[in-house]
């Protein structure tokens, strides 16, 4: 005879913010423990900057004029590689299904990963920065706050759609090709504004045009962070 068993079921729902925090922490820790990818990507970014500098030649005026373009292009290129890897951990060990079974809204997975990608891209920008200043002889001291804002908004505008599309193309054999093809048109407003804004900061912005570019960057950041979060649940809904 078996003793009567009382089944007490507790429904504990993890809040969205807390689950985002947990997934964010997981991704950052995993990456931070072996920094190999980060080191590799930084080298890649710096090499790209050097290539650009050599390709353009020694004329300092030319270098300064287009420096922001080169910096942002190398950030975007390396970020694409970084983003394409963001779901690899889960896909390689078949962990994505496990993650989805956890009582956490799928959007939390997206926001956690997107935030960790945001951190990595920001780190990438910060690491490339001293090299860019050196190679292109830039003067960023005039409006440091604005520059930080551009860095943040630029990283955000790349991380948000990038994480969604990384998830979308993750299982494809042609991921390395399709991710840039799909992503770059979406990045054009963000990158364009970032380049123009950085240019204005380097040239001390005589006519205060920078607010327009900030507006564009803020708008696209807002749109992408919301829209991609909504769409992510559909992406993994299989």
């Amino acid at each position: 005879m078996s003793a009567p068993v009382e089944i007490i079921s507790e429904r504990r729902e993890v809040s969205l913010i807390r689950s985002v925090g947990l997934i964010f922490r997981k991704d950052i820790l995993i990456e931070w423990r072996s920094k190999s990818r980060l080191v590799g990507m930084s080298c890649y970014a710096i090499t790209l900057l050097m290539l650009f500098a050599f390709a353009v030649g020694p004329d300092p005026v030319m270098l300064q004029k287009h420096a922001s373009a080169y910096v942002w292009m190398s950030v975007v290129t390396v970020s694409t590689l970084l983003l394409s890897q963001s779901f690899q951990n889960e896909l390689e060990s078949d962990a994505l299904e496990g993650l989805l079974l956890v009582p956490v809204p799928p959007a939390a997975i997206y926001y956690g990963k997107a935030l960790s990608n945001f951190v990595w891209i920001l780190l990438l920008e910060l690491i490339s920065l001293p090299f860019a200043v050196l190679l292109f002889q830039l003067d960023l001291t005039t409006s440091p706050l604005q520059f930080v804002a551009v860095l943040l908004l630029g990283a955000g505008g790349v991380a948000a759609p990038g994480t969604l599309y990384a998830g979308l193309t993750g299982r494809l054999a042609s991921q390395q090709l399709m991710l840039p093809v799909l992503l770059f048109p979406l990045l054009i407003p963000t990158v364009l504004s970032a380049v123009k804004a950085t240019n204005l900061i380097i040239n001390h912005d005589p006519f205060d045009q920078i607010s327009a570019w900030f507006a564009v960057m803020c708008a696209f950041n807002a749109i992408y962070w919301v829209l991609c979060g909504v769409m992510f649940s559909k992406v993994v809904d299989e």
Binding site: L164, Y165, S174, V181, C228, M231, K234
Partner: protein, 223 residues
């Protein structure tokens, strides 16, 4: 789908009417308006159809919506390419330049590339469910381009003219323009219908009824 044939004639008729009608202040080159503006309107509308179809695919799981999405993406891209070529020619005529990086031209080109990229992606995805989901999600996000293109002339300084409304267009040109617009609209809708049918037939052939040869007698195993 003979609608297409009939309405194609409506479209052609529109220009047959408009060609001898009148000249705008731009001179003869103003006539390009009758083909350029309708192409623009209908291209944007067709992408709206793609957007609606994509939403249906994701939220209602409709396969038919996927065919319509594929068809409208293709028609939309073709129309946008035509638009860019017509615009380039008109630009050469009036502004002496084939291209310029102003907001409307740039955003139109970006829009064309975005949607073309989705079509390329569709070609590379062979799993039907995955293809449906991925292209629907991408279409919804790429649709952000459409309002940008439409409002770019209003919000940003641009070399391109403002939107063509009854206020901005010469009154004699209203009716030819409208007829041309409807002609293009029906033409595109008919094309979408046909192309969706192609997609449907192809899906039927590859997914539901593989044409395998019948198993020959000698191979049947008896247990």
């Amino acid at each position: 789908m003979l609608i297409l044939g009939v309405l194609l004639i409506v479209g052609a008729h529109a220009w047959g009417l408009t060609a001898p009608l009148n000249e705008a202040q731009m001179g003869i080159t103003g006539r390009i308006l009758y083909v350029h503006v309708p192409t623009a309107w209908v291209a944007l509308l067709v992408f709206c159809i793609a957007f609606g179809a994509a939403i249906r695919v994701l939220w209602a799981g409709s396969k038919r919506a996927d065919y319509i999405e594929e068809a409208s993406l293709e028609v939309g891209v073709v129309l946008t390419i035509m638009l860019l070529v017509q615009g380039s020619i008109w630009g050469r005529a009036t502004w002496e330049t084939w291209w310029t990086w102003d907001p409307r031209l740039t955003s139109s080109a970006v829009m064309a590339i975005s949607f073309a990229g989705i079509l390329v992606l569709r070609g590379m995805l062979h799993n039907p469910d995955k293809r449906r989901t991925i292209s629907a999600v991408s279409t919804i996000i790429a649709f952000l381009n459409v309002p940008v293109v439409y409002f770019s002339v209003k919000l940003l300084p641009s070399i391109h003219q403002l939107q063509s409304t009854p206020n901005t267009v010469d009154s004699e040109m209203h009716w030819p323009l409208r007829t041309a617009a409807f002609g293009f609209l029906f033409l595109s809708l008919g094309l979408i219908g046909l192309r969706a049918r192609v997609a449907e037939l192809r899906a039927f052939r590859t997914e539901e009824e593989p044409d395998l040869p019948p198993v020959p007698e000698t191979l049947q195993v008896e247990v």
